[in-house]
C-alpha cells in the first residue's frame, strides 16, 4: 500500500449521534429493569461495521460487508441473577430482553457473590487510549492492497504454486457499558488486518503457511508486499519436512507460538479456574512459578494497543500491574464475582487480560538459536491437548530441527509434551523479538527440555 493511502484518517462511522443512541439504549434497559423491580442491573450495547476483501490467484474471491449490533443485560434480584441478549435494539426488543433476564433470575439460586462490581472499583477518569483510527480504503482500494499482498508471495519464488488468498479487513466498533451504580462508559476502537496464506510445492508435497499484520492504526500495518513475501518464505522453508525420532530435547517456541504458552498461564490464574479448584496453579500465589528473571505484566493503557482498555467489562478501572515478578506469582486474573469467591479484590479483568507482556531478554532470535545449540524450533502448534487442571501438555507441532545454533531442516508430524508447571520453571530465556500483533506480547521462548514424540 502506498504511504498516501494509509496516511489518510477517515471519519468514524459511529460518531456522536451513534454513541448517544447506544447510551440511550443501555439506559433504557436499566430503566426497564428498575421497573421490573431489580435491585441492580447492568447493560452493554455495541455497534460495529467492517469490510473484508479476499483476493485469490489475483482475482477477487469474496467481498464481505459486516455490520453488527447487540445488547446484553444482566439483572440482580438481591443475589439472584439472570442474563439475556438480543441483536434487535428496538424499544420492544430491549424491553423483552430485560424481561427475559428477569424471568431467568426467578429460578437461579441465591449466590452471595453475585452482583455488580463494587462502586469503589469503577473507573472514574477514563483516559483516551487512542484506539479509534477509522480507515475506509473502499472496496477497490482494499482489493488493490490484497492483490499486491498476494502478488508479492507469488513473485518471490516459483515454488509458490497456490494460495488460499490474501485478505484485507477493516473494523470499527463502539460499545457502551452502564450499570445501576450510575456508571456509564463508552469505548470506540478500530482494528485493521492484512493476511496472506500461500502454498509452496515441490516434488515432496505441499506446505501451507501464512503471515498477518494487525493494528488499530492503518499506518502501523506492515507493507502489503512484506506480508505476502513473508507468508511465502514461511511456506517455502517448510518444504521437505520430516519426522523426528522420539527423544527429549530443548525447544524454542517462535514468538507467535510462544504467546500460546502465556495464554495457558492466564487460563490457570483466572479466578474461575481457581475457585473451581480447576487449575494446576492453585495456591501458587506468592510462590515461584517461573525462573527468577521472568516478569509478566499487564499494560492496559498502552496507546493504540490491541488489548488496551480503560475499564473492563464491568466498568472496573484497569491499571498496569505485575502478575509475575522475579518469577513469583503476584496476582490472579479476577473479575468481581471470582474475586468475591476467593475473598479478594477484582483485578479489572472481566473479559480477560490487557496487553499481557513478558519482559524480553537481551538475545535476538538468532542468538537464542545459538544459546539452544541443538534442539527443536516450534513455529506451529495444532490441537487442544492442554489440561489446565493438571498442567498436562501434549500438542501437535511443526517447525525446524536446529543443530549447533543453525536451522538444519524442517520437521512435522511430531508432538511435544510435558507438564506446564515444569515447562514454566524450565524457561531458559525470552527473546528480544517481541511479537506485538495481539493481546499477548512475547518474544521467542527457550525451554530446557521437552518430550518430542515422532518415529
Amino acid at each position: 500500500m502506498s504511504a498516501t493511502e494509509i496516511a489518510r484518517r477517515d471519519e468514524p462511522v459511529f460518531g456522536e449521534p451513534a454513541r448517544e443512541r447506544l447510551a440511550d439504549i443501555a439506559q433504557a434497559a436499566l430503566e426497564e429493569a428498575r421497573r421490573q423491580g431489580v435491585s441492580a442491573a447492568e447493560a452493554a450495547a455495541h455497534l460495529s461495521q467492517g469490510l473484508s476483501v479476499t483476493v485469490r490467484l489475483g482475482e477477487v474471491e469474496t467481498v464481505e460487508q459486516t455490520r453488527d449490533k447487540g445488547l446484553s443485560v444482566t439483572v440482580y434480584f438481591g443475589h439472584r441473577t439472570g442474563s439475556a441478549s438480543t441483536t434487535d435494539l428496538s424499544p420492544a426488543a430491549v424491553r423483552d430482553t430485560v424481561r427475559a433476564a428477569c424471568a431467568i433470575a426467578r429460578y437461579t439460586a441465591e449466590d452471595p457473590c453475585a452482583g455488580l462490581a463494587d462502586p469503589d472499583t469503577l473507573a472514574r477518569d477514563i483516559p483516551d487510549l487512542d484506539l479509534l483510527h477509522p480507515w475506509n480504503p473502499g472496496v477497490d482500494g482494499a482489493i488493490a492492497i490484497a492483490r499486491e499482498c498476494e502478488g508479492a508471495a507469488f513473485a518471490l519464488d516459483k515454488r509458490i504454486t497456490n494460495s488460499e488468498g490474501a485478505t484485507l479487513s477493516t473494523y470499527e466498533g463502539v460499545e457502551v457499558y452502564a450499570n445501576t451504580h450510575g456508571f456509564l462508559g463508552t469505548l470506540a476502537g478500530t482494528r485493521h488486518n492484512l493476511s496472506a496464506a500461500v502454498i509452496a510445492q515441490d516434488a515432496g508435497g505441499m506446505q501451507r503457511d501464512f503471515w498477518f499484520t494487525v493494528a488499530r492504526r492503518p499506518g502501523e500495518l506492515e507493507a502489503a508486499s512484506d506480508v505476502g513475501a513473508r507468508a511465502a518464505r514461511r511456506a517455502l522453508r517448510r518444504l521437505g519436512a520430516r519426522k523426528l525420532p522420539t527423544r527429549r530435547a530443548p525447544v524454542i517456541y517462535e514468538a507467535p507460538a510462544a504467546a500460546s504458552l502465556l495464554s495457558h498461564f492466564t487460563a490457570a490464574v483466572r479466578g474461575e479456574s481457581l475457585y473451581r479448584d480447576a487449575s494446576f496453579l492453585l495456591g501458587a500465589l506468592g510462590k515461584p512459578v517461573f525462573p527468577e528473571f521472568v516478569r509478566i505484566h499487564e499494560q492496559p493503557h498502552l496507546k493504540a494497543g490491541l488489548g488496551s482498555a480503560p475499564f473492563d467489562n464491568e466498568g472496573v478501572a484497569t491499571a498496569p500491574r505485575d502478575l509475575v515478578r522475579e518469577g513469583v506469582l503476584q496476582g490472579y486474573v479476577l473479575d468481581s464475582y471470582s474475586a468475591r469467591k476467593l475473598k479478594m479484590r477484582t483485578t479489572g479483568n472481566a473479559g480477560g487480560v490487557h496487553n499481557l507482556t513478558i519482559d524480553p531478554g537481551p538475545l535476538g532470535f538468532e542468538q537464542l538459536l545459538k544459546q539452544m545449540g541443538t534442539g527443536l524450533l516450534v513455529t506451529e502448534l495444532i490441537g487442544f491437548g492442554v489440561n489446565i487442571v493438571t498442567g498436562d501438555y501434549s500438542r501437535g507441532a511443526a517447525g525446524f530441527w536446529v543443530e549447533n545454533g543453525e536451522i538444519a531442516y524442517p520437521v512435522e508430524e511430531i508432538t511435544i509434551a510435558g507438564n506446564l508447571r515444569d515447562m514454566f520453571r524450565g524457561i531458559v530465556a525470552v527473546g528480544a523479538d517481541v511479537d506485538i500483533r495481539g493481546n499477548i506480547r512475547t518474544g521467542s521462548i527457550l525451554i530446557d527440555s521437552i518430550t518430542i514424540a515422532g518415529n
Binding site: E59, E61, T62, V63, E64, R67, D68, T81, G82, S83, A84, S85, T86, T87, D88, A100, A101, A103, I104, A105, R106, Y107, T108, D111, V139, N162, E164, I199, G205, M206, Q207, R208, K243, T246, R248, R276, D277, A278, L282, E380, I382, G383, F384, G385, V389, S394, R395, G396, E412, E413, I414, T415, I416, A417, G418, N419, T451, I452, A453, G454
Partner: protein, 484 residues
C-alpha cells in the same frame, strides 16, 4: 401440504410476515441482487433463540437467554462471492445489503427475478417444536440439580461438579434466485457434565454429555442424563490412577463412537469441496485412488433422525444426503455446497452450511462415520502385543494442506500382551490424513455414533456435527506422551 412446503410456510410466517415481506418484496430483492453477471443469489433469513443454564457448587447460579435475527444476502459470480447482511428485517436495509452484495459483479445489467416461487425438497428428521418451551424453567433447574446429586453420590473423591443445559430454537428461510424457497425449523439441545475428583493432592477431570435435534423431553427419557453424570465421574476417577503416557510410534486401538473424531480430522476436512476445487487439500485429485484399507468405508450422512449434525435441508436449501466418501478403501467423492459443486461440475451434496446469517456458507460435514467391519472388539484388543487403547477424546485439528492431524485422548490405557492394563494420561495422537486409514488393520463390528457433543470450527465459523466409528486398530500412529 407436504413436509417441506409446511416448513417453508412456518418459516414465512415467523420471519417474513412480521417484517411485512411478501412475494413481491422477495422478487424485488432478488431482482436487485441479480443485476449484473451473477450466477446465483440467495437470501438467508434466520431467527434463533438460545438459552443456557449452568450449575456449579450445587446451585444453578446463572442462566442466559439470547435472540439473534437477521438476513444474509449473497451474490455468486464464478468463483467470486459478494456478501452483506442486515439484522434489520426491513426492506430498505435488505435492498442496501443486496446492493452491496452484487457489487462483486463489476457491471450492472437487468435484474432477473423468478417468475414463481416453489418449495424445494426437504427431509423431516426432527420435530419443528421449540425445545426451550418444552420444559418448565423450574424443571430445567431441577434436572441440573439431579445431575449434580447423581455425580456426588458416586464417590467421595468428587470435589466439583459443573453441569450445563442449553437449547436452541432456530427458524430459517432460504430464498434463492432460481425460485426455490426452503424452510427449516431446527431444535438443538445439549447437556454437559464436568467433574473434578481429588485424591492425595492430585486432581483430575472427567467430562460427559450429549444431545441432538430434539427437545428436552427426549433428553429426559430413560436414564441418559444421570448416565452422563456417572460417566463423567468414572472418567475422572480413571484419570486419578493414570500414569504418564508413552511417547512414540505404536499400535493404537480406538474405541467406538466419539473417537470417530479421527475421521473428521484426518480425512473429513480434506474432502470438503472448497479445498479440493482450489487444490489446497492433501486429497486434491485423488478420487478413485486407494486412501484406506479395503475394509474401510466412510460416509457423511446428514439424514440421520435427531442427530446433532443432521439437517432437513442444508443452509443453501439442498436436502441433505448420505454421501459415500471412501468405499472399500477407495476415495469416492467430496462434500459440496452449491458454488463448489458448480465449479467442479458435480452435484451438490447438501453440505453447504453456515454458522448464521452473518456468515458465508461453505462445504461442511454433517455426521461423519465409518461403517462397521467384521471383527469382535475383544479380538482386536487381544491381537495387540503392546499399544495404546484410546476410548475418549477432547478436540482435534488438521492442517488441510500437509494432511497432518491431531486429536487428544482424555481417557486411554496401555495394551500389554493383548490385555488392557493401566490407564495413562491423555496424550495427543498425530498422523498424516492421506495415509492413516491405510494403516487400519482391523475394523470392529461395533459401530457407534457419538452422544451428540461435537462442534466443528472452520474459518471462524462453528457448526454442530456428529462423528462415529467402530473399534479400530491402526498400526503406527504417533502417540505424544512424555515417557520415552
Amino acid at each position: 401440504m407436504d413436509t417441506s412446503t409446511h416448513l417453508v410456510e412456518q418459516a414465512r410466517k415467523s420471519l417474513l410476515e412480521p417484517a411485512g415481506l411478501g412475494d413481491a418484496e422477495l422478487a424485488r430483492l432478488i431482482g436487485t441482487l441479480m443485476s449484473g453477471r451473477i450466477d446465483h443469489g440467495d437470501l438467508y433469513f434466520q431467527y434463533s433463540r438460545h438459552e443456557s443454564w449452568s450449575l456449579e457448587e450445587g446451585q444453578v447460579k446463572s442462566g442466559a437467554h439470547s435472540i439473534e435475527s437477521g438476513v444474509g444476502v449473497r451474490a455468486v459470480a464464478g468463483e467470486k462471492s459478494g456478501f452483506a447482511y442486515s439484522d434489520d428485517l426491513v426492506l430498505p436495509a435488505l435492498l442496501e445489503a443486496a446492493g452491496a452484495a452484487r457489487a462483486i459483479a463489476a457491471h450492472g445489467g437487468e435484474g432477473r427475478a423468478p417468475i414463481r416461487w416453489r418449495s424445494g425438497e426437504g427431509l423431516r428428521l426432527y420435530s419443528p417444536s421449540d425445545p426451550i418451551a418444552s420444559l418448565d424453567d423450574r424443571e430445567k433447574v431441577a434436572l441440573l440439580e439431579r445431575i449434580e446429586r447423581e455425580a456426588r453420590a458416586q464417590d467421595p473423591r468428587v470435589k466439583q461438579v459443573m453441569a450445563s443445559l442449553s437449547a436452541v430454537h432456530e427458524v430459517i428461510l432460504i430464498v434463492r434466485s432460481d425460485g426455490v424457497l426452503a424452510g427449516d425449523v431446527r431444535p438443538l439441545v445439549r447437556v454437559n457434565v464436568t467433574v473434578i475428583a481429588e485424591a492425595g493432592g492430585r486432581r483430575e477431570m472427567g467430562n460427559a454429555g450429549g444431545g441432538g435435534r430434539f427437545t428436552y423431553q427426549e433428553l429426559l427419557e430413560g436414564d441418559t442424563v444421570t448416565g452422563y453424570a456417572r460417566e463423567a465421574v468414572r472418567q475422572a476417577l480413571v484419570n486419578l490412577e493414570a500414569a504418564p503416557a508413552p511417547a512414540g510410534e505404536m499400535t493404537v486401538v480406538l474405541g467406538p463412537g466419539w473417537p470417530g473424531i479421527l475421521l473428521h480430522e484426518a480425512i473429513g476436512h480434506g474432502l470438503e469441496g472448497d479445498f479440493n476445487r482450489k487444490g489446497t487439500s492433501a486429497f486434491a485429485g485423488r478420487i478413485g485412488t486407494r486412501v484406506a484399507a479395503p475394509e474401510v468405508t466412510v460416509v457423511d450422512d446428514g439424514t440421520l433422525a435427531g442427530r446433532r449434525g443432521s439437517l432437513n435441508v442444508d443452509d443453501e436449501g439442498t436436502p441433505t444426503q448420505c454421501t459415500v466418501l471412501i468405499e472399500n478403501g477407495v476415495l469416492k467423492g467430496y462434500m459440496q455446497d452449491l458454488m463448489n459443486a458448480r465449479l467442479m461440475g458435480v452435484a451438490p451434496t447438501g453440505n453447504g452450511r453456515r454458522e448464521s446469517y452473518a456468515h458465508l456458507p461453505m462445504p461442511r460435514m454433517t455426521n461423519t462415520y465409518m461403517l462397521a467391519g467384521r471383527h469382535d472388539p475383544r479380538e482386536i484388543i487381544a491381537s495387540v502385543e503392546r499399544g495404546l487403547y484410546a476410548v475418549n477424546f477432547g478436540g482435534g485439528q488438521v492442517d488441510i494442506t500437509s494432511g497432518k492431524f491431531v486429536f487428544s485422548a482424555s481417557e486411554a490405557y496401555l495394551i500389554e500382551h493383548g490385555r488392557v492394563t493401566r490407564p495413562v494420561k491423555g496424550a495427543t495422537l498425530i498422523g498424516n490424513g492421506p495415509d492413516v486409514l491405510t494403516r487400519v488393520t482391523m475394523v470392529g463390528n461395533d459401530l457407534e455414533l457419538d452422544t451428540g457433543v461435537g462442534t466443528c470450527g472452520k474459518e471462524g465459523q462453528s457448526v454442530p456435527v456428529g462423528v462415529g466409528q467402530p473399534t479400530l486398530r491402526i498400526d503406527g500412529l504417533t502417540v505424544g506422551g512424555t515417557q520415552t
